[in-house]
Symmetry: D3
Subunit: 340 residues, 6 copies
């Protein structure tokens, strides 16, 4: 089994049932999620040795988080146990014209307070082929940004391929700080994943004529964004997801992979959404799986988009689909007939 390592925070996700608003709920669905953990679950489902690195408290809530990963076969042996709390995010599902709402309560989590000595990268990277993180991880705290920098350097030393999803979160840090820190980290990154907002927010790199809220996207602009990113950091590949938000229920979804020489666009899917959180992460996982297995660029982007399209039909952060299911969709069957 090929070993892939991801590093970040795993949070408790508290969500009202169905389309209830927070103020209507006296019972919350308690699942777990976080950008890099979500990627690890996808990869474990695809049969890789997916190791998630983080820090979680010793108490039962920390154990619930670990169990949520073990259940799907993620390698949790590098998770350090300690610290005070599991980060939380409250998540209310939108419908029609009402947008989804996320409230973070993640400050002072065990991973945000972690120190350099909590992680033994020698052991973690033993036999690893790929390392993945997102812009959320270094945004957690200065400590974690340092650990992240250490991790990418250690990865590069061992010829481990590094991928990063820019994933800008304005509630965690300013654009300025993000630009500074991510600028340092991206020097060690081989594959960059982003949406147009990320590139602009983090590095001021912008595509022309695109209005995020209008739900219409200018595909050509994305190529120039990818070119600028590649120029700046020398990425082997830049993948950009293209979301058209028609309503909280209906989105169009596609993506582009730019390889330095050429841009490959995927099919576009019209999705009726069950849960869109983790959509980007499932794209990243599809991309990593394809590249680790040496798929060509077109096949890679089709696999990644089909995988993440399916994620939108699944509750929770984790993308619980098989390679076979992704390939069936990428191969053209999206009609939703019953499989008996």
């Amino acid at each position: 089994m090929k070993k892939v390592v991801t590093f970040g925070e795993l949070m408790l996700r508290l969500a009202p049932e169905n389309y209830l608003r927070f103020v209507q709920s006296d019972r919350l669905e308690a699942t777990f999620g976080g950008a890099e953990a979500n990627v690890a679950v996808s990869l474990a489902n695809y049969g890789l040795d997916a190791a998630f690195v983080s820090k979680l408290p010793e108490h039962e809530i920390g154990q619930m988080a670990v169990n949520s990963l073990r259940k799907f076969g993620v390698n949790t042996s590098y998770i350090t146990r300690g610290g005070d709390r599991v980060g939380i995010y409250y998540c209310e599902k939108g419908a029609s014209q009402r947008p989804s709402k996320v409230i973070y309560d993640r400050a002072n989590s065990s991973i945000a307070c972690a120190s350099m000595s909590d992680f033994n990268w020698d052991e973690i990277f033993k036999g690893a082929k790929w390392f993945h993180f997102t812009g959320i991880t270094p945004a957690l705290s200065d400590n974690v940004a340092e650990i992240c920098l250490k991790a990418v350097k250690e990865a590069k030393k061992r010829n481990i391929i590094v991928s990063c999803d820019l994933n800008f979160r304005k509630k965690l840090w300013s654009k300025e700080k993000a630009g500074l820190v991510m600028g340092k980290l991206c020097k060690y990154v081989d594959y960059c994943i982003a949406n147009e907002e990320d590139a602009k927010d983090v590095f001021g790199i912008e595509a022309d004529n695109t209005d995020i809220n209008s739900g219409k996207l200018d595909r050509e602009g994305y190529i120039s964004v990818a070119q600028k990113l590649t120029k700046k950091f020398g990425f082997k590949g830049v993948a950009i997801t293209l979301r058209e938000s028609l309503s909280a229920n209906d989105n169009n979804w596609s993506a582009m992979l730019y390889t330095g020489s050429k841009a490959y666009f995927s099919k576009k899917y019209a999705m009726h959404i069950v849960d869109r959180v983790g959509g980007g992460d499932s794209f990243g996982a599809g991309l990593i799986y394809s590249l680790v297995n040496g798929f060509g660029a077109q096949k890679t982007i089709e696999f990644a988009v089909a995988a993440s399209c399916l994620k939108h039909s699944i509750e929770g952060d984790y993308n619980l689909v098989s390679i076979k299911e992704v390939e069936a969709l990428a191969g053209g069957n999206g009609s939703g007939r019953v499989q008996r």
Copy 2:
């Protein structure tokens, strides 16, 4: 805080979960709703001192009803406690070609059996700016029709603005009786809210060339309905909601405000519906909020329609949205992106 008073019935709403039919259910969601109480909840959410006037039994089911309002900040201090029962309505949610179904069991409720002495309008109207009721209230019983007449007269004495949603319910009274009673009450009304059916059912006022069941509406016809209503009762304003029912899941929604001089039409929203009950009430509340705050006619109708559009994405009778959320939608953001 501006004080608004509404008067009517608050019922226990018993509904199967999700899309289950009555005969499939051995557990029912137990929430509360009623046209005028729904308006009060909206207004309390918008920060007004919204007082709901009614009568409810002293027992625990009556208390559940009171608590459902207190929870959202409605002023319940004018609710008289006594009588035998809380009115009930059973509500089965439709889907696709299957319509929603409502079964009333509201006869002999505490409010339907209330007497004139149950309400002290001097105290109730102290400091009030606005009084609102709907055609359901006088339809409950002759007693309540009398009380209602008393209320509007007392309101007028105090220069309190009066609004009325015609809200014709054929299971409560005949068109003839409705016309008679509402005709008396409307003399004291400043703002009238209706849909096309109401105007026709109650006063025989009709727009041409409209087929309610076809889902297609002739907007121009609504102006003539508003004009006729205004002519008959001297309303300061007439607001008409325009619903196009494509299926139980999908409706188009817009409205018109006619101010005597001009008709203002709102944007039209294509809605994927979570729960349409209370949609009209949330429109009324948006209208009252806007007028109490002196918004212009176009802003008023846009606010009212955006508010009620959002209601269709929310479970239960009550519209649980903030001013900020309504304004975001009225201002153009209906794309449903996640708000982090």
Copy 3:
């Protein structure tokens, strides 16, 4: 009350709640269903004396199955009690591009192991007007195929009309075996129900230029299929359902009734699906109800399609709608307005 007899298997249906995947579920909805039992429930709802014939264990799980039918008025007095187990099917609801998934665990069920002596057709057919089965029943085991052959012969002896839904299930038998067995049985059948796949899979009868997975159907091709079937077996009527699968959530639905002389096409419904399992069975029941009552061909096919359109808005296998509701839809009201 007209008596209709159906014969087949009733299974325990275990399904995750809402859109959860199997691997996310630690609680399963436990309802019951099976092609011929589903037909019986529909017919009981329409007021017929609908008798379901099968074999179920004596234990409580068998009793749950019986109760699920009694609840809706099905005549269960001809169900033999005995054998070891209730067949099971696990059912995961699809969404958007993710198809629904069915896993069968029905081998060695009481009915699959039943013997000829378990059923007294003299008593069962007393007063009966119609006998219905589907291609699933003879596929259960050679025993049951023999019993089925006995049943149709006994029915014919008594001038009971026989209908059969081809319902090919590739997990139960091969196309070759299906063709052989169904070929024998169809000699005794008056009305044949099928979809295009069935005719091809069972008898190699095919319509040209149709791609099932594309979701587009060539209506003309269906006429030729019906003609070929009629030619081969001398059916009085052949009904073919026409499903266009746009996604797991959205399907178009219509059907054709071919009477030997002419093909009658129904309206086509654009459905937003709640649960599509049992859709075909509800069509068959609508057809039987209409024919038993002597409706004309066009009215028959409209009733059957409207009935099965409504089924897609209902959870579970059973179509829980009234004649009145079907007629309202067939008569043109599909706008989904609230019925108060």
Copy 4:
């Protein structure tokens, strides 16, 4: 199958989940119950042809009530459909020192408003061996009291045995009225079921030295109550249940059958209660089953008490146990070992 007829009201029972109080609940369990219907369900479970006679609305809530009986095999063919509403009772389960609470909302139910012509006793009593009602039925309204009197007279004409559970409910009528009406009815009754309170409340017949609230009962006093009742009405048998309420969770339970010549006491069971509503009805059903089958007095009282002891371990009004289970307990096995 021996046919037993019971006559009374079937209500919708709305109950918070587990031990929640009404004011904590936004979802209610919706089951059905009523003294005479509960008896019918028990008897159907024991394999008798148990017919329940009542009146229920035509709408879906009425249908839910009918289905709840059909599910367990009760003969519902004599239930008249019509009238406005299903009676309701709200039921909050007590725990420890907190008593259970019942709120009735049953006025104006279809059965309470029924008229003499709603019931054809000729047809109802065809082939019947036994007729059962309780003191609740005539308390519903004067109409129903008249119908009840008619029913017992018709029963007597046909040599049908009549049993009556006194079941006094102070919220339905006064002691005086109860005494008057029940006095007339009891002339036609063969077997009388009561608890000590009933005899006192209805007929002023009292056992000495018993304090209901203390939870301690003077068994000897019951014999004198039975003797007085027998003397007054010439009953063939009087059965009295003996409940010792230690807390809402723990009760002792036993009973006495007095046959005119001798009193037979049952074993006493120490019960840890799941749901005590319907406990008395399940006792009545056990008694009727035993007497219909000619069991001796001691066996009769042991069967009835064991049956009702088991009821206390079952949620809802209906006693869902088999003859085999009752006999196992009556025969001495109350240790609760797993039955594999």
Copy 5:
């Protein structure tokens, strides 16, 4: 209405359903609780103007907390909105030999980070008769300890009676610090509430020969504890609760009120527990209600213990009982008969 003010933290309580362990749960009951808020809810239920003072975030989770109090009539107008987070406690219910488990995640809550200027005691204490807090409030942070000291001083200035429940929590502060801070605060306290552990942990005051874990208590020792406390701080009254823990399901419960001259012991209740969290708070509320209304010492302690006995039969932190229910139990009816 007499006005009582309480001051402290209101937390989100996340609890698995029924007896599930944390690691078994993917859905958590989300209610709210906190020692002083629990007292306020009890007092609002008893009809007082109970104002709860705290600080909660502006976001929806903060709003849920406010609504949980408004629902039961608590005066929330002095709750300052702001800060980052709602404190959380995870709560797993024990059973039999398995103890309940509480995990706190309350650091950095809005109230813990509140500043002196967040509260206007002039306004808060307008018309107030009583002020209550517990040892948890000053333990939240040094800030809050200062605010608490300010509050008691302001209360004393206005002749408002002050009560304090020692409520020592070892996870919030050390015994040493507790002793120091509580020592200062208790100078302004009139009525002190404690259990034996509290007095020892906070002030080193100890009763002889008592083993908390053995479940056996030496009542006489409590008198000496109360005497020592009274001597040290000049309390008008000291109330001590006496819990005997037999298992997680079964506890005995009683209490003592020492008035400086005499010790009054209550009845002892053997409780079968539904939820013991908030048991002490409901005792405090019963005490305050009794004293505010001038009940004598024996009646006071009986009311307080009966109230808190009932709390143990109720889910969640809040004691949702009426005066009538408490008085019925205190008056001797604990047999748990159904109240119809």
Copy 6:
């Protein structure tokens, strides 16, 4: 980590919620359990490398079973995937005098149909210290009995300690066959676990004067049973659990360990039961954990009984407790105070 291997079947457990009967349930809790898997989960919780060996289908229901073990850290790498079905057991929880009920539907499961070549014992036993199975495993089929014999022989070859819980199930095989097969297997067993019934049912070895159903046990008799077993098979130790069934809710629980020289009795626990299924398995796991770690006989039996006492307070088959929790109870704290 010490490696322990267990071998057997893992079944889907379908159970109504709370105390509902099967016939009341339209939703079933879906967890997993099986004697040897239950032992593995306990041991994984105690920190051992617990490997469970079995065969499960490749489909999603098989995957659910695997995930249920991975979640708690069980080593599932030796589970062969294939075959047709997951065995099922339906489980209805008893209450008071109503016993729990188990219905098996496990015939033809993947493991029951497994063949010798499905398991590579060389690899499985690499590094293992202990092998455990129960009498259920060889009872599944002749195939599996052969595999089991192979396994114990392979274990013995490698000096792996072997334990066996006799666990007689009369629905799986006859006493005669059990005696024959178990007799062969027990020659390779070091530690035997049983209850009195097992020894009698399988080997005809009986303790005098004991009536299983009476709930009273003669402890002395157990010593003679252990002696006879030891004499016959040369066991190093025989452990016998002593259950006194007072009701479905209340049991007393203790055990004895006989080491050839002496019998060690544990404390006896009076348990209020949440779920007793898996109680024996959790005892076995406690025993293995203690013996693997070289605990003395008295400490061993106390640990095993405390562990299994706690199991009775936990829902589902798996005993989800930590070493710390077991030791706290074994060390004397069973009072159930809240642990904050």
